[in-house]
Symmetry: C2
Subunit: 293 residues, 2 copies
């Protein structure tokens, strides 16, 4: 595994690969790597000639009161993990190199997609995400870029961006990797104390229960499902709900009628730590069919 710390060097290597016709799998990260990231790297390596990952804690996607400065950083530990996962090239860079003097250009999604769910609570967050991902796409020029399903809205917006701006690449969204008790893996889980960690299991439990009562029990009233999910979460005394919603997977619009391809999404605070999670829900057609008779 080689490590590149310079945009120009990474860019030159990307150009060489393009000329050689090599396929490049790319996993952009902010470091503090866990099994979720590593599963993306393994997939990238398996599906492409070359696997590249980036580590860059992107300042412009953090709000002024958010955890940019205390976000966990462990480049040495991360390097070892990436090497073990079979990574070929690790690209690291700095805010000073990524946002040079006079920087003035941003990529953003309209409010219908970026102003809901996490975007409604974190103004400017997705503008920061889309901008840095567009930059990284142009620097690394991947054939396929891999993102985790855990960051549901991020994955939806990046897929949308890649299509809308005609990036010559494929966006692959890979399943969320979970702890044994169901908690979605996240770099922010390390902020949790023992009691918070134990109670954090309610988030995934609530989402999977929502999925079950829609897919198996045929519930089609979103308010009932959300009420049920909220009850499961609030049963944990340390949990403070930010949002629990069921949305259309492509448009991110709230799904009232619970039809088609959906996602149940939640953001929940445990102390100062904000956890997000989601599960995909495919509403069976059989439920809607009888109405047509």
């Amino acid at each position: 595994m080689i490590q590149l710390k310079d945009i120009k060097k990474m860019s030159a290597l990307a150009e060489k690969w393009a000329r050689q016709g090599k396929t490049v799998g790319f996993v952009p990260t902010m470091g503090a790597l866990h099994e979720g990231h590593l599963s993306l790297v393994r997939t990238a390596k398996r599906e492409n000639d070359i696997a590249v990952a980036s580590i860059f804690v992107n300042p412009i996607q953090f709000g002024p009161k958010e955890d940019f400065s205390r976000y966990p950083r462990d480049i040495q530990g991360d390097s070892k993990k990436l090497k073990s996962a079979g990574l070929d090239v690790l690209f690291t860079t700095t805010p000073a190199e990524m946002y040079t003097e006079g920087f003035a250009t941003y990529v953003l999604a309209d409010e219908g997609m970026a102003g809901v769910l996490c975007g409604a609570r974190r103004p400017g967050h997705f503008r920061g995400v889309l901008t840095v991902v567009a930059k990284l796409f142009n620097i690394v020029r991947p054939t396929v870029a891999y993102f985790g399903q855990k960051d549901f809205q991020q994955a939806a917006l990046i897929s949308r961006m890649a299509a809308d701006l005609n990036f010559p690449l494929k966006v692959a969204v890979c399943p969320t990797i979970r702890e044994k008790d169901g908690l979605a893996m996240s770099s922010r889980n390390m902020y949790l104390d023992v009691r918070e960690r134990a109670q954090a299991v309610v988030v995934s439990r609530a989402l999977f229960e929502g999925k079950r009562i829609i897919e198996r029990c045929g519930e089609c009233d979103s308010r009932k499902v959300i009420k049920k999910m909220r009850a499961i979460i609030t049963a944990a005394p340390l949990a403070r709900i930010d949002y629990v919603e069921i949305v259309d997977r492509a448009t991110l619009k709230k799904s009232e009628k619970l039809e088609g391809k959906l996602a149940a999404c939640a953001a929940v605070f445990f102390g100062k730590t904000r956890l997000i999670d989601n599960v995909l829900i495919d509403v069976p057609n059989r439920r809607r069919a009888p109405k047509k008779k």
Copy 2:
């Protein structure tokens, strides 16, 4: 010359060129081609293995009351001109193919650069320009993209975008091509009637006079220069000034002290037709040197 009307075909050809290591010069246009465009095409062909031009009247860069529907379209005439200029590939596309259902992603510059000059008068215009140019960059994947100096703010914003978003290409800004009397060539000149056309010469005349009194006469009071330029323009009875400004070439900030690399820019209405023009001004160091003593 081949003409491609399909994003996928253009994109596939671009990928082939990348693998062959061919250099690609690209000239994005809205058609209604004049000698300004053709000079860009000739330069693109001379400096690269392959010259590509696009013709696409981009709806999202026109305001609701602007001239999108009446913007001149002459694909057959344009094709002939491009063939004569040595073009290899003409890419044409449609709003329906470029902005598919659910389109939600935009590229924009911050207000310091996009909200001044033309951007102050045409809200959303440069968002539309940057978005379509980013899309075209990703579809055509040029080595060098060529733009005319005549659209000064556009060229500045696109250069900024290419650097900020790390597009793996060079932006070349080429000199404005003028009619014999000095009028900057523009597709919109054909809107002018005979009297308007005769009087339109005042725009370039004013800008070159501004350049002369700064560079040659050492004038360093921007208000005096602007007053002089406005007087030249308003001497034409059909001219109605939209703006006349002197700005820093990189930041687009108004230059009060007239130092460094500047541009004098004007937008002037003749009837319903809005013409823009600019000249580059390099303030000689000798003028500033004595102050240091």
